[in-house]
Symmetry: C2
Subunit: 415 residues, 2 copies
Amino acid sequence: MLLPSQGQLEKYAELALRTGVNLQENQKLMINSTVEGAPFTRIVARKAYEMGAEDVHIVWADDELTRLRYEYADVETLKEVPDWQKDMFSYFGEKGAAILSIRSTDPDLLKGIDAGKVAAATKARSEAMTKFRDFTMNDRIQWSIVSIPIPAWAQKIFPEESEDNAVEKLWEQIFSIVRVDREDPVAAWEEHNQTLIQAKQFLNKKKYSKLIYKAPGTDLEVELPNNHIWKGGASQTVEGKVPFNPNMPTEEVFTAPHKYGVNGHVSSTKPLNYGGNVIDNFTLTFKDGKVVDYKAEEGEETLKHLLDTDEGSSRLGEMALVPHESPISQSGLIFYNTLYDENASCHLALGKAYPNNVEGGSDMSEDELDQSGVNHSLSHVDFMMGSDELDIDGVLEDGTTEPVMRKGSWALSFE
Amino acid sequence: MLLPSQGQLEKYAELALRTGVNLQENQKLMINSTVEGAPFTRIVARKAYEMGAEDVHIVWADDELTRLRYEYADVETLKEVPDWQKDMFSYFGEKGAAILSIRSTDPDLLKGIDAGKVAAATKARSEAMTKFRDFTMNDRIQWSIVSIPIPAWAQKIFPEESEDNAVEKLWEQIFSIVRVDREDPVAAWEEHNQTLIQAKQFLNKKKYSKLIYKAPGTDLEVELPNNHIWKGGASQTVEGKVPFNPNMPTEEVFTAPHKYGVNGHVSSTKPLNYGGNVIDNFTLTFKDGKVVDYKAEEGEETLKHLLDTDEGSSRLGEMALVPHESPISQSGLIFYNTLYDENASCHLALGKAYPNNVEGGSDMSEDELDQSGVNHSLSHVDFMMGSDELDIDGVLEDGTTEPVMRKGSWALSFE
């Protein structure tokens, strides 16, 4: 597989370790990687040790074997998650390890596999990961997700190109979007994060009680919990206050919608890659926070199973604002990869909300979170509904309304 | 990396699954594989599913990351084996999975790493694997080890060749030695196993009380436990009586030496690859079963640590007879890989004995095994001491002596 220069790969590795998980000396690092991604993962591991990592452990997965397993194993087998697997992830959480996911996903990996089988397995795995998810979703540990090209993904984005050319073009896009092509990517990220911090601070002062989304196919009112908090840019760990960037790239500011306060309908604007299948051109209708109707031109069966995962998977867990001028959006590409597409577009997530999107959320019980309007679910799946035709109004505490976004761009000035 | 034809690889995969672990329908399969070995491992996994495997789980390792870890992590970290790792292996034992190890080892992987560090880590891992080792060494599950080339290994054997040529030559050797090049490799194995069965049956009737080894640098008397059993060819699981071949290739018949009954000295005839380091041209002196002196031209420090692992690691756990005409021996190659070199040469093993090499051994307590002369240790390391200059005499129960091997060849006729 074609790889960029060693120098560029090392710059990316260093960025993922410093700006992404912000690896500390004598800290353990767990990396999720595919076998196909091994050449880059090895560079990251070496760099981590050079930075003083106590230990680096790789949890390997392999796309071809994953697909084989879905083809051949029965649903009961696919639902088995042995205790040692749960314990493995919890172990790294308990040891305060930094967790880096190096994703390289074929958007069509599970195309043609029975959607019910995939849904059952995904749900079982999500249940098994409950304890570990508490570490990441509450910022108890440093974690980050980055992506690297593989041919199957690259050719989904650039279907006209040869395998090598497609991979090369995708590396270029990634390096540009994640600022690896800057002279000092770490500094570029600090500067970039400042703009997100400005936006979230501004929105936190506004204390909107509701946002109203309008676009072709979308007319949606979303209430916000009292004491909601907009987040964006770097996160920090609850105890050690170690800053880290959970997503690279990130262009969003986001908060939790009120789980019982969503009404209207919303249409997707980009395909959603969920569990190895693509869901595209879909519309969700909400009543009092819950999806009461849905349709999809592609992947409707997969969408149905996603919504049916549990009580919370048909409610919203995140609302994120991304201006249409974002560099990813400007690339004009559809990445079939949520990490990229969500940062090109305003989006919402079905499923679990981040507890820290309300004041004191990470110390709340499930009941308290529910009373605050913070959704709970095994799943958390972002979908894109932003475009240059999206207008958003914000309703202030006194009931007056003001424009938040117009034609996909900020209608507010944060200065 | 250069690969043989798909057809040959599939034949090898099928042989490993049918003749090696003898995978049963609806059985789980665990595969140990390196990331470098992924192309072949994927073929094995697909074939396993086609044969009706319930589930295939790969435990991946990566040579480069293993080496990095030894270079950078401190010894305390290297000694850590989290519970989930032990539980992972035990899980597959308890589920009655078949265990296939697909080895591709760089003989010099850990060259230059402090031998004490390697020894401490190896010992800790061996301790952690105690429960799992009970499954394999007592034939409670079907298990098998096969090897595939990687450039670092191939070029150690063929140092004059280019990387591609060396790998190609090693594939050819492997396919010839493991009989993949026969029209029906499974049938060829059945036939081959018959000759090993003849030999072991013959030796079991002989009930030698002692074997006496003589060769340049070797003059060793090895007592055998009462009720020792020679094994060779296919093993079978204790409960289900499912036949399987733990090693591919295998050319040996073997039994347990008496742990307190070894006297004299023995010199190695081939290099020993132990934990990523090579030990070569070494001599061990035994008194009452225990190594009381040793020297090695290469890797003496590694040998020292091996002998110091625990009380049993300086006593013998296996004596194996392999005629010098074995196809591996005839190749004239040194493989720097125990699986191959041990099957070209009479050998002994330091460390744990297979309990089933004495009558009823797998049901014996540790004390009972000790009283029977069956060695216990965390380690089990074969070393080669056979050659065309080796003579072996057998002492019968009545005290008379007869030739067992002369100049490395059988002096007995099994017909």
